[in-house]
């Protein structure tokens, strides 16, 4: 009987290790690149609600510009986390989602069903070029209150590290 219990425990531990490994394998990035002294672009855009968005208006706030797409699984998984950050740091931080979805109907459906609490813009090459290009999805730019790009996260975001950076920049 004891042997069977030991076997079961070993099996559970092995499965836990297997699952953790699978989870970690998906987290391909997340370490902010060294802070470049690059000025963030001042872009004028229109969000899905029809509101005019001028990134220059957010001067004084920390800005997170997240390039994503509704069809991109790791991007979609991150949306609730960005919504939590927007909720938590309401007046000090602004998240902007820039979608590269080619099908607007799918984007709008995702936006509505997830009740996204920050502006989402349909991205294009001009916007991507403004940030020096988008290496892949998801990509998030961290822009400080003085409108300087302070980090770029490519691949699945490590939100623990991102929040550490946010706290540090808000001090």
């Amino acid at each position: 009987m004891r042997r069977a219990v030991r076997f079961l425990l070993a099996l559970i531990v092995a499965l836990a290790i297997f699952e953790t490994g699978r989870h970690l394998a998906h987290r391909t990035s997340g370490i902010p690149s060294p802070p470049p002294s690059v000025a963030a672009p001042d872009l004028s855009m229109t969000d899905l609600e029809g509101n005019h968005i001028d990134t220059g208006h957010y001067r004084g706030k920390l800005l997170l510009v997240n390039f994503w797409a509704a069809w991109c699984v790791p991007c979609a998984e991150e949306i609730p986390q960005f919504m939590k950050l927007q909720e938590k740091y309401q007046t000090k931080l602004q998240v902007i989602g820039i979608s590269i979805d080619d099908k607007e109907s799918e984007l709008r459906s995702f936006y509505k069903s997830h009740k996204m609490n920050y502006p989402v813009i349909r991205g294009d090459q001009k916007i991507a070029d403004g940030y020096g290009g988008v290496p892949g999805l998801p990509t998030t730019y961290v822009i400080d209150q003085e409108e300087h790009i302070r980090g770029r996260l490519v691949g699945a975001t490590d939100f623990q590290k991102l929040e550490q950076q946010i706290s540090s920049l808000l001090k």
Binding site: F18, P74, I100, G123, Q125, G155
Partner: protein
């Protein structure tokens, strides 16, 4: 072994079976999963493709991801096919490959998002494999095309 002990053993085996079953089902959901694991002969590393493209008999390179990323930068000579996760992308891929001899060396790539989550590579690979291509390779881009190709200094062509 008494009856109580036997029941416990059966129960433990049943629990173990339930726990192990998902792991096996994840390991072999379709053939492309095995072929597209790092280390598989189907997988091609960036450096290997760079060398292959320098040879006179270079492979055909098909890009099966979103157009914006292709416009931003792609492998020189790569043909734009479009997202293979969509039926129209897959149809276009099929139409492009239909007239090619089955021994044509073909490399497909995407790099829109992390390898483990790319929605385009598997359908594109499965389609070409189903069509009978025998020299079919897939470029391995772990994080993205930008990170694992462009920013590593490999050749990039912008625009269409």
């Amino acid at each position: 072994m008494n009856r109580k002990s036997l029941t416990l053993h059966i129960l433990l085996i049943a629990i173990a079976f339930i726990l192990v079953l998902p792991a096996f089902s994840m390991a072999t959901p379709d053939a492309s999963d095995k072929d597209l694991q790092p280390g598989s002969p189907v997988i091609m590393q960036a450096q290997e493709l760079v060398q292959a493209l320098k040879k006179p008999a270079k492979p055909l390179v098909f890009y099966v991801g979103p157009e914006m990323f292709y416009q931003q930068g792609h492998i020189p000579g790569a043909e734009f096919v479009g997202p293979a996760e969509r039926p129209e992308g897959l149809k276009k891929l099929h139409a492009r490959a239909a007239s090619l001899p089955h021994n044509t060396p073909i490399v497909i790539y995407c790099g829109c998002c992390p390898w483990s989550h790319c929605p385009n590579i598997h359908p594109a690979y499965n389609e070409l494999k189903k069509m009978g291509f025998i020299h079919l390779r897939v470029l391995y881009l772990q994080t993205s095309f930008g990170t694992d190709w462009a920013e590593k200094g490999y050749p990039v062509q912008k625009g269409s």
